[in-house]
Symmetry: C2
Subunit: 361 residues, 2 copies
């Protein structure tokens, strides 16, 4: 009998069913837990975005605008890039999928740094592609190693900048050099989900680099800075040709109505952006200062999250903190078993994290 | 130089950029146009769903529940099917994609009736598959013809019941007979987007048929009956094994937070369901009565839309009505050039449609 599933699907890890926090709390018999595990915006969603949702909710019986006209116009204006070079996704996750489904054939090869965002490998494997992971060097992306891993079958290269879960960033000079050495028929996915949090001015900015490689795709999201993770809206910049091909494969109603409206409004919410960046900056300062005091090592970050090296191992500390109602991310599946990753929270959440960490280690 | 895109992508029709109605109205210099083109619910979204959106909007900074716990529990209870046999999608469109990406390899073969929902072919072609279209026979799905089209390479068969755009339905007896003749290793996608509008009691109901074929996938949506097209939420029933494989390929956050909450609430909105079915039934009665009076032919329907045979051709009538601010669907791309398809609207929309039709023909 022939194989039931497409090549690669058998190799994917079955999805763990999982439970909402409310159900977990019930099982553990705890209440009021805090979540510092998913690099979300602790302030909530952008208030202008919330208002836009309210304004649009009565129109939900109608299909979304399949062309994303208003959101793309707004992005075009803000970033000075033509609408024809912008593509919208059901989160930037879907854009990663869309790139693979448009450009990668079964048996093609892709390269990623490791550890990095875990979704790249899942999508490439599920599409029947082969992934080479190039280990970080001193917790930084090894651009030379990635260049050396290129084969005639390489079709896609992923770069997450700043990198998740390490928080480090690649400079503009390094990135230009790197892009120029990549053959012209390889798709380069530059995932900039956290770029708005960057403070180091030397860091590469994908938008300035679109001319440096014919098939550069820059991916961004409204999930983090704008606090819209629950609505699923991401966007990408690429050449007109790349965007046109992606739009052929894209389902016309992939970006929902409320996501489009909320994102369009959020782009004007400079007060919320300002507050978010301030909370992250001050939170990082508080957390690092206290970790120094406790004598625990951590990795400097350009984002709203960072790695902490915890005595006794990340998984153990994750489990102990969970029982105290503090949800952080264990780094086992990222092959960093000594670390946990935490997102910067509200001041009171950061305090509770520090208190709980003191207790459990 | 090697091919840039995956097999099948070149063959896809480039997506027409398109414009929102507001922009179209501005260009045409018209106002207050009505849309009877997309089989949407004319009453708006379910009020209980709207309330659920309002209640959840403040949590949008958090990622959605990747397991869809509450919505699947509710569906499980309502339809008496275990949660492990339910899969959620960003609209049922995404579930069609997910089925193809999970089970179909490049070069595999699929079969669809034609005309039917146009998305099937787009997705199969874009995945590098080959589609055989079996023409309708007297505007009904030709089940015998589909069985005869099966080859050793056939991996997926699509059946839309009731069929879009014709509105006709297959009976339970016919469907059972059909399913029993399909080899056991073929995925059968039974798209029931409009099943709640069916009035003919003999019509097949996919939920009763899950045991008739090992790889039957029944797809449903909240877009139509519940008025949630803009939020993108569909669901599917299949065997645990099929669902488990689809969940491996699925992105965990494909169904957004507001969609999950709205859909869960909508399932309890029996008052809205009742009103919707009444508006559709009465609207159909009014429209058919008036078309009889005008002397225009139409196709009987089990759904909230139907085909009308218009003198002078569907495209011409579509264009003339558009200029009058009445948006219907021309059937050119469905190879039914003599027809337009209209969705049942509110009483005043149905009246305006009839008036405008009288004018243009």
């Amino acid at each position: 009998m022939r194989k039931l599933v497409r090549k690669g699907v058998e190799e994917l890890v079955p999805y763990p069913p999982g439970k909402p926090i409310e159900e977990l709390e019930r099982e553990l018999g705890i209440k009021g837990s805090i979540k510092l595990a998913s690099n979300e915006n602790p302030l909530g969603p952008s208030p202008l975005a919330v208002q836009a949702v309210m304004d649009k909710v009565s129109t939900l019986n109608r299909y979304p605008d399949g062309s994303g006209y208003y959101l793309k116009s707004k992005l075009s204006e803000k970033f000075n890039i033509p609408s024809g070079q912008i593509v919208l996704g059901n989160g930037s996750n879907e854009l990663i999928e869309l790139i693979i489904r448009t450009f990668m054939s079964s048996g093609d090869h892709a390269i990623q740094p490791f550890p990095s965002f875990l979704v790249y490998e899942k999508i490439v494997t599920g599409a029947g592609g082969d992934m080479t992971s190039v280990s970080l060097s001193n917790l930084s992306i090894d651009l030379k190693g990635i260049l050396n891993a290129i084969t005639p079958k390489t079709k896609v290269i992923f770069i997450c900048n700043p990198n998740n879960p390490t928080g480090g960033a690649i400079s503009k000079d390094e990135m230009i050099q790197f892009l120029r050495e990549i053959p012209g028929d390889i798709i380069v996915v530059l995932d900039e989900a956290y770029c708005e949090f960057v403070t180091d001015e030397k860091t590469a900015n994908g938008i300035d680099l679109l001319d440096e490689h014919p098939f550069l795709c820059v991916l961004r999201t409204f999930s983090k800075l704008y606090g819209l993770a629950g609505l699923r809206i991401g966007y990408g910049f690429a050449s007109e040709m790349v965007v046109e091909y992606m739009n052929r494969v894209r389902q016309p109603f992939n970006a929902n109505t409320l996501a489009q409206a909320a994102a369009t409004a959020a782009l004007d919410d400079s007060a919320f952006v300002h507050r978010t960046l301030q909370v992250v900056r001050e939170g990082l300062h508080y957390l690092c200062h206290n970790l120094d005091e406790i004598g625990v090592q951590y990795i400097p970050t350009q984002t709203n999250f960072f790695l902490i090296k915890v005595p006794g191992g990340g998984k153990r500390v994750y489990e102990l903190m969970l029982k105290q109602g503090v949800i952080v991310r264990s780094m086992d599946s990222y092959d960093l078993p000594d670390y946990i990753r935490i997102s910067v929270g509200l001041p009171e959440e950061n305090e509770r994290f520090i208190e709980t960490l003191r207790k459990v280690i």
